[in-house]
């Protein structure tokens, strides 16, 4: 079991290293194959670990394996350790499985790009980093994985580094994640100080014993990190910009895996959050707020990838909501199903973009149902799964979350429940708006020259090669059947599996489940109807110009942050440069150099070139030396 986990962790690293070291000695296609095969090998390892774990019972399913201890100070030890338990097994399977499919897809999608090798090396690096994050046996190693995925994200968002928008987006993502990393690290510092350990099973047990203030601060720190990584309010502004990266990157990092790391953290560290319930409820509240905000903004976006990005933000809001009320199993369940259908949506969108030679504006799309029949089916399945229509995956997971909100009761529970239901309506609306705009209606004119950010590759008109079709197909199947892992009232293998690690705080009754589902599906279908009506009548869903403008500007968050943080910081930096750097630092260095030169020039005048001066110098030296010798005697 542990061996499988280690193999799973290290296979993508080996792949990344191999591609990096081989450099130009392997062809671009070979680099892609190395990356794909190692990722699937990782999946194999994860599968082995999972099966082995299944064969065991109870506490045997959890094991901490230490490779070596990096730092030992007193009784505090930290090093390379992995924790193999039910939760990490699920995450490993998702990351390596969906990751493998997406990397395979990239073989076809990125074919023809000049820097394919770099791409695949980065992708393997990412898969390794994400696996490190989910398998980490201590919080420090988790933070290392956390940072590494941030790095991989930065590298991949800015993959087309000759595009200034991509570079800016990469920087934005990195900086915002750095804020989260900082709060996370501060939380860890507090933990080390008070709990004296960071080992995952142990530190969580210690959480109860810590004082209220400390544990609240720690929880806030962890939450800050989670908010940044998962693009939730208020650290959400980087995710739409991150769509500048290639579509498979958006699928893997910004839909299926990295952005869900925050959810994983909330579930993994649940004892800490349970000891600080205010923070946990804050997480749920922020999740709900993000859910609604993202849903609203998605209604007015024109870029196909941005719509899906806001959708991701919204769905992760659901997961935060779930984790915030203690429905850990359902949070992870939604994470898994969301990985399936969101990746599916992104990859299908990728096929569309490819087919239209880089076009991403949905106003210039339409009628692709005829041209891309299989993609159409895939996209439709993904959209329906997203909206939560039975029996597709999203239905089972999202409604379980809503039912848990209902079950938790109280003011918070009802607020969250209503927000979630409203979110279901919005989801139906924006998702089907997208579907209709892209696939239905009169076919739009296809401009022959490639344009837009993804025009870098060979235009693959049509549905693309096998390497793109098979993953899309696989994800379609998963989006259809994946939800059946937890049918309310019938069987709950998934949540039972996860609850071994994280015991849920609320359990909805079967009646609540079905009632919620009814409400949610109804609202989802209502959203569909609204979208269809708007589409047919040629209008948009949001008609008031004020609301349109506000939503178009994403509720002015970017402008707010710019005024609050960027402008003052830039002004301060400029002032420091003018007042401190130039006059003091630079000038002092210059003066140092000039002074040395002058001194040297002065001393050089001794070298007069005249023999007699030298003779004089020798005579004087002799005089002094004799004096010294006589005096010493």
């Amino acid at each position: 079991m542990v061996a499988g986990a280690w193999f799973c962790l290290l296979a993508p690293l080996a792949g990344a290293l191999a591609i990096t070291l081989a450099g130009e000695r392997i062809s671009r296609r070979q680099a892609g194959l190395v990356s794909t095969l190692t990722t699937f090998a990782a999946f194999g390892g994860a599968l082995v670990a999972f099966v082995a774990m299944w064969a065991r019972e109870g506490a045997e399913r959890e094991q901490l394996s230490t490779a070596y201890t990096w730092l030992a100070a007193g009784d505090f030890e930290v090093g390379l350790q992995i924790l193999v338990d039910p939760l990490s097994a699920v995450m490993m399977l998702v990351v390596s499985g969906v990751g493998g499919l997406i990397v395979w897809y990239s073989l076809g999608y990125m074919a023809g790009d000049d820097e394919e090798r770099r791409y695949f090396a980065y992708m393997s690096l990412f898969v390794f980093s994400m696996l490190l994050l989910v398998e980490a046996g201590n919080l420090l190693l988790l933070l290392v994985g956390w940072g590494l995925v941030g790095l991989a994200s930065y590298l991949l968002i800015g993959f087309w580094h000759h595009r200034p928008e991509a570079v800016a987006a990469a920087k934005k993502a990195f900086v915002m994640n750095a804020i989260g990393d900082a709060t996370f690290a501060l939380g860890l510092v507090l933990l080390v100080w008070q709990a004296r350990t960071l080992e995952l099973p142990a530190v969580l047990e210690e959480a109860d014993g810590l004082s209220g203030t400390i544990v609240t601060l720690v929880a806030l720190g962890l939450l800050g990190g989670a908010l940044a990584k998962s693009a939730q309010l208020p650290l959400h502004t980087w995710l739409p910009d991150a769509m500048e990266g290639p579509t498979p990157v958006s699928a893997l990092i910004h839909a299926a895996t990295m952005v869900t790391a925050g959810v994983y953290l909330l579930v993994r560290a649940h004892p800490i959050f349970e000891a600080a319930p205010d923070v946990q409820h804050l997480a749920a509240g922020l999740g709900a707020a993000t859910l609604l905000l993202a849903g609203l903004v998605a209604l007015v976006q024109w870029d196909i990838k941005r719509v899906i990005a806001y959708s991701t933000m919204s769905q992760i809001g659901y997961m935060f909501l779930a984790a915030g009320i203690g429905a850990y199993g359902f949070a992870i369940f939604h994470l898994v199903t969301h990985a399936f259908f969101k990746a599916l949506l992104f990859l299908a969108a990728g096929v569309v973009i490819h087919h239209l030679a880089g076009e991403q504006d949905i106003r210039r799309m339409g009628g692709l149902r005829a041209a891309l029949p299989r993609t159409h089916v895939a996209f439709l399945v993904g959209t329906a799964a997203l909206v939560g229509l039975p029996p597709l995956a999203g239905f089972w997971s999202k409604d379980a979350i809503l039912a848990s909100a209902l079950a938790s009761g109280g003011a918070l529970g009802w607020t969250l429940f209503s927000a979630g239901l409203l979110g279901a309506l919005l989801t139906g609306a924006y998702a089907f708006r997208l579907y209709y705009a892209v696939f239905r209606g009169p076919p739009a004119e296809v401009t022959p020259e490639p344009h837009g950010p993804e025009a870098a590759h060979e235009p693959a008109h049509g549905e693309g090669p096998l390497s793109m079709l098979v993953p899309v197909g696989a994800l379609t199947v998963l989006s259809t059947l994946g939800g059946l892992l937890s049918v309310p009232g019938v069987w709950h293998p998934f949540t039972h599996w996860v609850s071994e690690t994280a015991e849920a705080l609320v359990e909805p009754s079967t009646g609540e489940d079905y009632l919620t589902s009814l409400a949610a599906v109804t609202l989802g279908l209502a959203g569909l109807w609204l979208a269809r009506r708007a589409f047919v009548s040629g209008r948009q869903l949001v008609t008031s110009p004020g609301a349109w403008r506000a939503l178009e500007h994403k509720l002015y968050f970017d402008e707010l942050y710019d005024a609050l943080f960027y402008r003052p910081a830039a002004a301060l930096a400029g002032a420091l440069r003018r007042e401190v750097e130039e006059p003091v630092v630079e000038r002092s260095l210059d003066e140092l150099g000039a002074g040395t030169l002058e001194l040297g020039g002065g001393v050089a005048r001794v070298q007069s070139g005249l023999l007699r001066t030298y003779a004089l110098a020798v005579a004087l030296a002799v005089f002094v030396l004799v004096l010294v010798f006589v005096a010493v005697r």
């Binding site: 050089a604 005048r605 001794v606 070298q607 007069s608 070139g609 005249l610 023999l611 007699r612 003779a615 004089l616 005579a619």
Partner: protein
């Protein structure tokens, strides 16, 4: 030993040395400088021999002989240099040979 004591010889040698040093530092003709250098060497020789007599040890005289040999070698080279300078038309003036100016 009859006659002046060793100290007197040393005074002569010192005066000779000083004279030679003045010549090296003040004169501009390289030939004169070389000659003054010889004066200084001879003054040193005198000192060595005086002390050899004082201590009754012939080591000083042996050293003085070696100094004489080295002085001969040095004069040969020095004169060679001066002639080379003259052949190239360089002015035989120590102050003008200042290419080593820093």
């Amino acid at each position: 030993m009859s006659g002046p004591g060793i100290g007197w010889y040393l005074i002569v040698a010192a005066l000779l040395f000083g004279t030679g040093a003045l010549g090296v530092m003040l004169r501009r003709s390289p030939l004169i400088v070389l000659l003054s250098l010889e004066l200084m060497l001879n003054a040193a020789n005198l000192t060595l021999i005086a002390f050899a007599r004082q201590h009754g040890s012939l080591d000083g005289q042996v050293f003085a002989l070696a100094v004489m040999a080295v002085a001969a070698a040095e004069v040969a080279i020095g004169l060679g240099l001066i002639v080379a300078m003259a052949r190239r038309g360089l002015p035989l003036d120590v102050d003008q040979a200042s290419s080593l100016r820093g």
